[in-house]
């Protein structure tokens, strides 16, 4: 059995990052776009009811940002643990 201590530390850091990003993912789509949509619709963003905007625009934009943040953070994590690919 190989020694996995370093790998396990890396894995835990990875899981923590995933938990944070997926919480945001859940909040903008299922939260703002579905569960709280009626509540948010009483606010307006230009001509958009806010909940409707999250469901049809805001959630998608946030998704793109989430992935790019993930890419950046993971590259930093790889470098920190010496797992960067050549």
């Amino acid at each position: 059995m190989k020694d996995h201590t370093k790998a396990h530390k890396y894995w835990r850091a990875n899981l923590k990052l995933l938990a944070i990003l997926l919480s945001i993912w859940f909040l903008v789509s299922y939260g703002a776009g579905i569960i709280f949509v009626d509540f948010l619709n009483q606010f307006k963003l230009g001509g958009f009811p806010l909940g409707f905007w999250f469901a049809q625009q805001g959630s998608i934009v946030t998704f793109v940002i989430i992935i790019f943040v993930y890419v950046r953070k993971m590259n930093q994590l790889d470098a920190k643990f010496g797992y960067t690919e050549k």
Partner: protein
């Protein structure tokens, strides 16, 4: 110039480009055929993934669906993009590190079992066939309008074209063709959106125009809400589906996205794990351009449609109405004999499509023989034509209309080709090479792959001609199946080292079976059928994939507890997958 001539020219040019690329980059080995040799750059892969991913459903159907459903249509927007987050964060990097050709490869090796591999192959075939049928239908719709042929003839023409370049080029040809197709489809989608947004709201960016004001100073969305409610529809920004159903459908689409074999296999084509992560980001960014524009188009199209047709005499309607009538995708039946078009909730005709008597009424309209007299709606508009007819409805120049046709074809063909590749790979690689005939030569395997692509196109064409439902709805079902079968098996395979073969197989089988059962019962009227009031927990068949997914997870974990532990070397394999360095090539084996 006449629309039809222009369409021939623009579609002809784009097709010449695709076929040229397919010939230039044709596959010489199985590795090139399956994963393009594993040497595609993240940006090119992102573009290709976006084209592969955005199908006829995204391009042709989605805006039309949202246009009729308003807020309820958000499930498609959030579902089909949100799944990418799961794919990028939970699957793509690890599957790239694993480094084989297909999803059944992963399942088979991770769960050290040919039974698991076979179950995965069956799931892949199920999902891909359902999905590809939707694409062929989309191709048929486009051809039928612009070549002025019957929708079935359109499907057959589409089959022949897909066959040429999927069979010839394999993954390598498909990847580079898809890059070109992305450019064509996004250009075709955006140009009319810019025009119409400018005309309606004075703002050229559709995402902003959608929230902007129209000429009389009211907000566009308020105006549309008012039009909708005056005619008896639900307010556009409110929607009418149950919250729980919206939740489950969105989840099924997200989880299904992450489990679609033709999208996952894309991440095997880049050289490194970090490239897999990055290319998922690029892919979603490219997809988001279309996905944030589509809801704007829905709003524009619906506003224009209502204002163009409502309360007008049929003979005063613009020429696009008559053109679409020829395809049987649009019809008017004057139920109250006042000579004016009334657009109301409810189905204008009895059954799925209008039947024409072959005679023409006083205003030049085709006489419909199957009007549904239980409601007042007189206008039948197939939702799949909204995007295609949109530039005509807004009176845009002829070249824009032709461009949209080329874009719709690019979207449908790129996805169909990607799916056919998964189908042929499942048969030639996973089934033939890995199980039945391990000694088969590279050449023989390539031949088998091409033959199975041929068979797959034929079967897909059959379903395109006899579709169970609308394009987007058919596709949504494919997602439910993917969510219920692959997603849990792959996630557990990566994140739960102790998951064993017994658990995974039992989970996939039960998830798939219960979902198929539910769909057959409520969509195809088998096992006693049933209507909306019989749905379990108020969840529609489109959303049931989420339940299938939960069943899959549950069964997997319970069965695992009572069966032998995962062998040491497989647990080592999982440890390996979790760290990125040393991904190596996508190796033949």
């Amino acid at each position: 110039m006449d629309i039809q001539v222009m369409t021939y020219i623009i579609v002809g040019i784009t097709f010449a480009i695709y076929i040229g690329i397919a010939i230039w980059s044709r596959a010489g080995s199985t590795k090139e055929f399956y994963v393009a040799g594993g040497g595609v750059s993240p940006l090119a892969n992102g573009l290709a993934t976006a084209a592969d991913w955005m199908s006829a459903a995204s391009f042709i159907s989605m805006a039309g669906l949202i246009s009729t459903q308003g807020y309820d249509g958000s499930v498609y927007l959030m579902g089909w993009t949100g799944g990418y987050v799961l794919l990028a964060l939970l699957l793509a990097p690890y599957l790239r590190k694993f480094g084989k050709f297909t999803v059944p490869d992963f399942i088979g090796d991770r769960y050290y079992s040919n039974v698991a591999r076979t179950v995965a192959i069956i799931c892949a075939l199920f999902v891909s066939f359902t999905y590809v049928a939707g694409q062929m239908r989309g191709v048929g719709v486009v051809f039928s309008r612009f070549l002025e042929v019957d929708v079935n003839t359109g499907v057959i023409i589409g089959m022949i074209i897909v066959l040429i370049y999927a069979v010839l080029g394999g993954m390598k040809g498909i990847t580079y063709t898809q890059v070109a197709q992305y450019v064509v489809l996004i250009f075709a989608f955006m140009v009319p959106a810019f025009f119409i947004s400018m005309m309606l709201t004075g703002n050229i960016i559709p995402q902003i125009g959608m929230g902007g004001k129209v000429a009389d100073g009211t907000f566009l969305l308020d105006k549309l809400n008012q039009l909708n409610t005056e005619l008896g529809f639900a307010a556009y920004t409110d929607g009418s589906k149950d919250k729980i159903d919206v939740f489950f459908i969105t989840a099924a689409l997200m989880l299904g996205t992450a489990g679609l074999p033709h999208v996952i296999v894309r991440f095997f084509t880049v050289p490194k794990v970090r490239d897999a992560r990055k290319s998922a980001g690029y892919a979603l960014a490219f997809i988001a351009i279309l996905y944030t524009t589509a809801p704007a188009i829905s709003v524009f199209a619906r506003t224009n449609l209502i204002q163009t047709v409502e309360g007008k005499a049929y003979s005063d309607l613009p020429s696009w109405v008559g053109n679409w009538e020829k395809t049987h995708l649009l019809a008017w039946t004057d139920k109250n004999n006042d000579g004016l078009v009334q657009y109301r909730p409810g189905s204008a005709v009895d059954g799925k499509a209008p039947l024409f008597a072959g005679t023409v009424g006083a205003q030049g309209n085709q006489i419909v023989t199957n009007p549904d007299m239980t409601n007042e709606n007189e206008l039948f508009v197939d939702r799949d034509i909204i995007v295609l007819a949109n530039p005509e409805i807004a009176n845009l120049p002829v070249w824009v209309i032709a461009l949209v046709a080329a874009g719709g074809l690019a979207a449908a063909l790129s996805t169909a080709a990607g799916l056919l590749l998964v189908i042929s790979t499942s048969i030639s690689h996973d089934l033939l090479k890995k199980q039945l005939r391990p000694n088969i030569s590279d050449r023989g395997e390539l031949l088998a792959a091409r033959l199975s692509a041929f068979v797959a196109v034929t079967v897909a064409g059959y379903f395109g001609i006899h579709p169970p439902d609308y394009v987007a709805a058919v596709v949504a079902l494919a997602f439910g199946l993917a969510a219920a079968s692959f997603f849990p098996a792959i996630i557990l395979g990566i994140f739960y080292k102790k998951m064993n073969k017994e658990g995974a197989v039992a989970g996939m089988v039960s998830g798939l079976l219960i979902t198929i059962f539910y769909i057959l019962k409520f969509k195809f009227d088998l096992f006693g059928g049933g209507g909306k009031e019989d749905w379990w927990f108020g969840i529609s068949p489109e959303g049931f994939g989420t339940v299938g997914m939960l069943v899959n997870f549950f069964v997997s974990i319970v069965v695992m507890k009572f069966t032998p532990e995962t062998p040491e070397e497989v647990q080592e394999l999982v440890e390996e997958i979790r760290i990125p360095s040393g991904a190596g090539d996508a190796v033949a084996h």
